[in-house]
Symmetry: C2
Subunit: 143 residues, 2 copies
């Protein structure tokens, strides 16, 4: 049994999840991938090492990794398309518990820098900030 396998067993123990072959390969493949691949892309990679794996297993374990805190979801937003009707310059406060989204004005947020040049020659058009945390209601519920 190699080192990586021992590492993975320890990681699973820390997060209280069972160690399976599929889970380990999935984890290692994801760690080795650049950027932010889709579940389908991850599935394709993992399938090369575990040909019998099911797409459902990939989904189930991605969720498990996220719930366990091993990985994090990129976007906290709703699944369906949402549109801004508020034409004021604003950003969003997203409750990590109840998923409610409320608007917050640029000044209230206290956003400052607004650099127009960033690494790799990226040209800034605008910033979109999500403040993730707990809304008042969920703070009470949690106490």
């Amino acid at each position: 049994m190699q080192q990586t396998s021992l590492d993975f067993r320890r990681l699973c123990a820390e997060h209280g999840i069972a160690v399976t072959h599929q889970r380990q390969v999935l984890y290692e493949v994801m760690q080795g991938m650049e950027g932010h691949p889709s579940p389908e892309e991850v599935f394709a990679q993992v399938k090369e090492k575990v040909p019998a794996i099911s797409l459902a297993t990939v989904y189930k374990n991605i969720h498990l990794f996220v719930e366990s805190g091993i990985f994090r979801k990129m976007s906290v937003h709703h699944g369906s398309v949402r549109v801004e009707m508020n034409s004021e310059e604003h950003h969003h406060m997203v409750c990590s518990r109840c998923k409610a989204i409320s608007d917050i004005g640029e000044e209230e947020l206290g956003l400052s820098p607004r650099r127009h040049r960033l690494p790799d020659g990226f040209l800034v058009e605008r910033y979109a900030v999500d403040v993730i945390g707990l809304c008042a209601k969920c703070q009470q519920a949690a106490s």
Copy 2:
């Protein structure tokens, strides 16, 4: 013909789109809705005023409004679930043309505020910043 109708005709003229009854009611209903309703929620509201409207029309016109710049999509992210494998504290640069997403470290971004209390007693856990703009490749293509 009331004032609102005239306003809507002007708006359509400015954006080069045709004036239809469905389109006008949809626009007015969306403007009057709080928060960030889903297409289904918008559909339900509009249906009260135009019972024969189709969900497809709601989708088509939401897209049209976004493409025309009348409204803006909340999230620029991919349709499928994406996960962070980069465990460093970072944010994202999203190209508005090719939709490519790349990571940017917290320091490189020069983010400052980190207030822990915001309006309505919202308790901050973390900030997630999307810098929207043009990547180097798309800047060249655009020139």
